[in-house]
Each structure stands twice: as C-alpha cells, then as structure tokens.
Symmetry: C2
Subunit: 427 residues, 2 copies
C-alpha cells in the first residue's frame, strides 16, 4: 500500500499507511496518542487496542515505524484528521532515548549539546526549519541567476597559494607539496567571467579563523556571483538586489511554515536599495573623515538611519577606501582614494561585500607592485587579464551569515549543519 505523507493525511480517507518517527507518545487511561513525524510534518495516531498500546510502550520516541490505520476526522487533531485503529510495524530496532526531548516545542539544549548531537538535534522541527530556510535560499539564488544568463561553475578548493592574503589559510599536504584550502573562488570566478561572462558558484570556502566568535566559521557556504560588461559596481548592486529579492521570495513561497514556526520577520527588499558613499557614511555617524573602515556601532547607526530615512532594512555603502580593499578592487574613476566597491548592510550589520574589479593587465601589475606583492605569484590569473577581460564585478553572500541575520540569531553555528571552528572538528 502506498505511503501517505503526514501533510497529506488531512485530505486522506479510508485506509492509509504512514511512515516516520515516533515523535511523541502520550499514554492516558484508555487511549495512547502517538505523534508521527515525517519530512512533511506531524500526524496524530490514536490507539485503543491494549495490545497495540503495549507495543507502543516498547517503542521509545525516535523509533521508526510504519503505521497502517483509518483516516478519521477529528476536529481536535492537527489538520482535522487522525489515524485510528493503528497497526504498527517497526522499521528498525527500538530507538535509544535521545539526549533531549525532541517533541518539546522549544529546543531545550545549550549550544554545545546542540552541536555535539547535531545529527539528532536537527530532527527537532524548529531546527529543521532553520535549514529549510537555508536550502530555500540556495534554490532562490540559483534559479534567479540561471534565469539571468549566469553559468554555474565548480572551481578548485585546493590552491597553490592563498586567494587574497597569506593569513588564515589551512595548509595541506598535497602529494608531498604544500597547498592551501581556498578562502574564496574569487580569482577563478573572475577568470571564468572571461569565458562565460556571468558565473556563479555555491560551495564551501575555508578560513582558519582562530578567534572563537559568534560570527565566524572555519568552513562556510559561499554564494558567489561575478558578471562582465558592467558600467561599474552599481550594476553589481542591482544584480545583488534582485538576487536577494529572489532568495527571499523562494523562502516565502516554499518555507512559509518554517518562517512562521521561527517567528521570523522577512525583510522587504526595496526596488532600489539606498546607497550612501563611505565618506558621507562617516559624516552621518559622526566619525572622523580619516577612519578607514566602519566600526560595528557605525553600521548599527547607519542601519537605524536607513530605516528612519528610507524605511529600508538594507543600505549599501559604496566607495570604501582603497587601503582596506583587496588588490583587485577597481578605484573610483574620479577619485582613486575611493573604490568602486560596496558593503551591503542588512539591519545594521554587514551582509555582503561586492564591487567592480580591475580588468586591465597593466592595472593589476601596478596594484600588486604598489602593495609589495609579486605579480609572478598570480601567473594564470594575470594571464587571463592580459588576454581580454570585460569590465566586471561581483559579490559573495555567506549562506550561514545570511540565515543567521534573517532569523535574528546571535551565533552563526546555529545555521550550519555540522559547523567547524577552531575547537570543533566533530561531528
């Protein structure tokens, strides 16, 4: 007999078969309630037969079962239909008692417990909801860019040097030589803009971040996009705006129940994200015009200002000083103290960095030599630049950071399935 999913039970009639986990058992005087959990949600089973009730008492929560029974209307059941007269067939050995009670509405566990037992704690509906929002975000990112003429790419995660700087890389024994885990696909996505014009990659990036903060992971999922034939960084910002809107739309459409369960307030992305120049941003927050970067309290103040002034959860700050940006950053044409780069603030926190890159070989040589870098270290990358590259730029969104901020969470580890940090290599 074909399986009925829990979400399909409210529309079912007659004999049905559910398969899933025993989410919760409640034994009353004359009846035992069992809540079954499958990938679509929960369903209620009611047993009155003493033999079946005894069988249930031998099947702890999280045991996996097949339940055949009758779909029966009951206004008090979730969805208005429950399964009665059940026959229960275990699909495996009875489950061991979980380290936390997954059936309780709130996840009653500290962060270390949550992470130590991630394979189990992700089963909690409120935890599943977090990842479902992450997965929907990935889907929205890709489908939007697919529709905008982008080509998906897959680039090396083992590289012969660090992408942007020598710091925070993981060294690797590569057939006896030393290699490194890629900190980003930056140089590869730029080279491939010379091939496909518009490219994106969703993949792991690695940062040997020694500090134990709520904002950093040693591995995270980077949503990278890069596009050619732009006028400047504002074209990149437009694509970023549309991409974020599509991600939110997919979250809204496909994981509405998860958003509701987590009581998350999804932002509205304005048709045009307000833009303020870095120099003006410093003025607005009363910082010295010599400041090379925005401090967290500056970002918070700017987020407040954008909300007050434009009613926007998003604010783009453009024109960051060249000294604080990587060598490939394109200068602001009318004043090279500034750059054609931006940070996108979301509710007063930096969410995305992006900008226009250099595209002429000679400009790269100058930029690298000025910084004291050896152009010979960037051979294949500079070769691409010498052979005709369009004006181009791009951005990178950290998936876990995105989800964390969307949910107003205070630790990025909640948004990674099996997070990695300086103290955690397990599970």
């Amino acid at each position: 007999m074909l399986r009925t999913l829990c979400s399909e039970l409210p529309a079912a009639t007659g004999e049905v078969v559910l398969e899933g986990w025993i989410h919760r058992r409640r034994r009353l005087a004359a009846v035992t309630f069992v809540v079954i959990r499958d990938r679509t949600g929960l369903a209620q089973v009611v047993a009155t037969d003493p033999v079946v009730r005894e069988q249930i008492s031998q099947l702890p929560e999280e045991s996996v079962v097949r339940v055949a029974g009758t779909a029966t209307a009951n206004a008090k059941a979730p969805g208005g239909v429950e399964l009665t007269e059940p026959a229960i067939e275990p699909l495996g050995a009875p489950a061991r008692q979980p380290p936390l009670e997954l059936w309780r509405p709130a996840v009653g566990a500290t962060l270390p417990t949550l992470l130590d037992h991630a394979a189990l704690t992700w089963r909690h509906p409120a935890r599943q909801a977090v990842w479902k929002i992450a997965a929907a975000s990935l889907s929205g990112f890709r489908s939007h860019l697919d529709g905008a003429g982008f080509t998906e790419i897959a680039t090396p995660k083992i590289v012969d040097r660090s992408t942007e700087s020598g710091a925070n890389v993981f060294p690797l024994n590569y057939f006896g030589a030393t290699a490194y885990l890629a900190q980003s696909p930056q140089l590869y996505k730029q080279m491939l803009t010379g091939v496909f014009e518009r490219v994106y990659e969703v993949g792991p990036v690695f940062r040997a971040e020694p500090h134990d903060t709520g904002r950093h992971l040693a591995q995270y999922t980077s949503l990278d996009a890069e596009l050619g034939f732009i006028a400047d960084h504002r074209d990149v910002l437009t694509v970023l705006r549309d991409t974020l809107a599509a991600m939110l739309e997919t979250v809204r459409e496909t994981t509405g129940a998860a958003v509701e369960l987590l009581a998350a307030t999804l932002p509205v992305v304005p048709d045009r994200i307000p833009i303020v120049h870095f120099r003006r941003a410093l003025e607005l927050v009363g910082a010295s015009p010599e400041e090379p970067d925005l401090a967290p309290e500056h970002e918070r103040a700017l987020g407040h200002w954008a909300q007050q002034t434009f009613g926007s959860d998003f604010l783009a700050v453009e024109g960051y000083p060249a000294a604080k940006r990587p060598f490939y950053t394109h200068p602001q044409p009318d004043d090279p103290r500034w750059t054609n780069s931006f940070d996108l603030l979301f509710r007063g926190l930096e969410l995305v960095t992006g900008g226009q890159r250099l595209h002429n070989h000679a400009d790269y040589l100058t930029a690298l030599i000025t910084r004291g870098d050896d152009p010979a270290e960037y051979g294949p990358y500079l070769e691409a630049m010498a052979h005709g590259m369009p004006p181009h730029g791009g951005f990178a969104i950290g998936l876990e950071r995105w989800v964390t901020r969307l949910l107003g969470s205070d630790n990025i580890r909640y948004a990674a399935l099996f997070p990695r940090d300086a103290h955690r290599l397990q599970p």
Copy 2:
C-alpha cells in the same frame, strides 16, 4: 543604448550595440569582417570605413569591445543578420595574442596546453560546450530531486578521519591538529536522512589518488543523494533512473547547441533499467564464480550484452559481494554473501555506485568489528544509527565522469574547469 546579445541579432533591426570579444578578424581588400563572441554565441560585423578597418587591425583577437552599428539582413551571415557601419569602442586594453587560435573550429592544442591555459582555452566554443553540458546536468539533478521532496544539504569538507578507509586522503593542519579532506559526504548524508528523509548535496570531494590515469582527479564534483523509507536498493535505483533521465532532459532542452557542436549522442534512459545479479553477470562474461569484482573487459562485455539484449545503454549490476563493498552496505537478506548494492554501467563503463545501507545500530557494530574497525572511531555516526534511522540508501554520481562518458571523451581532465591531480595544482 541597451546591449543586444549575439543570439538576439537575427531578430534585431535598426541601430544595435553588441558587446563581446573579438573572436576573429578577416581583412580583405575592401572590407574587414569581425566575428564578435559573447556568452550567447557569435555575430558578424562588417567594416568598410578605412578608419574603422585600421582601428580593428590594432585590436587583436580576444580584445573586448562595444560595437554600435546597423542590423542588416545578409543571407550569408550567421543567423541571416550582420552588423554594418560599425563604430567600435574598446572596453579594455588590446588583448595579448592567445596561446592558441580560439577562432578555429577545432581546439588545436594538446591536453597540457589546454590545462595550463585553462582560463583562455575554455573560451573556445567547443570547450564552453563541454562545461555548459556539465552545468545543465547539475541543474537537472537538483531540479528533479527538489521536485521529489529532497532537501539540499551542505556538509563538512574537513573531517577528523577518512570517510571510508584510511587510504588516499589529504591530511590537513587544522589549528595545529591533523584533519582530513572529506572523500565523500557519505556518513553525513546518511545522518541527515535521519532528519530530512531525502537529501542531496552537490559539492567537491577529495581523493589523494597518486596514479596518473585518465579516470581520476584529486578533486571532483560529487552529486550525492540519499533517501529513507526504501524497501531495498531497487528503490534507490528507481530514483537514480529518474534523476539521470531528468539530467539528460535538461541537457537536451537547455544546451542543444552544445550537444550538436560536440556531435554527442545522448542516450535514452529506459523506463526500467535492466538489472542483472552480480553472480549472473560473472556467468554472462564467462568469469569464475569466485571473482570478487568485475574487470573493465567484463563491464564492456556486459554493456554490449545489454545493448544487444535490451537495446539499453544502461545496465545495473546488483548484489556485489560483501567483501568488496564498504562496511555500511546492507547485505542481501536471503543470502548475506551478496549485498543490496549496485553499480550502474553506462555504455560498458561503471558510472554510478549505489545501494541500501545498514540502518540498525547493532548491525553497524557487527559490521565494523568483523572488519577489524573500531566502532569508537564512528561515534556521532553510530549515535544517529542508535536513535532511529529508517531503511535507507543512496548513490553518488561523479560530475566529470558523467560528462566524460556522455561525450565519449578519453580523459576526465577535459571535463573539469581547473583539474587537480598529483602533478597539477595550477592554474
């Protein structure tokens, strides 16, 4: 003025602007032809003005330009329309002469040249076509599984031990400790089947394969799927069948021109892939019943047999001996010498491995101890198995292998954007 893409030129009229690379120049006595290449294809530009012709002679192939002109019908032009009276604006410095002539129909370069200059050689339309087929395959894989109730996952690529064996792993300095690059997401996707029932991941996996063959890469893109609540491995094979059919359908629908350019013959996936038991397969190829595995010549013979007998490019061989399969492999219930696992042969070559896994904690303990492995090494994984796992199984498709075999190519390196092997860490 809004840019017209090369593919849009045949439908264009009046003044248009193209942007792209100078793919080819041909200077005749009174006219210069320029072929412009962008992400959508090629377009012809015809210059007669001596000043413009002189300008073009200063812009080597691969220079990036904006060309404004008049869309003019010409039956001899590609698509029936060419650009006349062009005004050309370089969008960067003139390009350096490429290491191979990208405008020639055939890629005239040896494999090392192709790989050494990958950022340039991928610009060749025949090379782009290979990757477009890869990207379409990824898209088809995901969209099919999204529609079948699967959840996308992202798992750690840095692990504290090898996934399946101690061989061929890359050791890593992880904050002073030794860690390894993940050879597959196997254990993680199984654990997450306990959460989401049906999961998939597209991501890099790493094998420190020391042998320099045409079949191995040190990093490749693995298309992993795993699903719960199966009866046995044949349910997995059904999902695999439908997934491959969807991948091929997406390739056909979205990259028809690439398939045609490469003169690839896409297979038809039969509604039911023929299945033969390993024991019977040995008989069919006249091998000893004691053979523990199929040799390449056996696979070729079986491919031929499947073609002759069923008219099928695909053949599933099920029941591989337990000794040749990983510890998590589910035995064949009626005869534990064999397993509920399969290899899928495509045109006589192994393409995919899959099967049913163990799902009871006690069976894992037995399997590990029998093999002399220490269960304590698999702590979090075994914990998941102790807390209620559904009968489950899955498969993994290597993207580069898939593309290589689809195109009848002899070296997997042609199908990776920037391949990694024992001798190659660049570009």
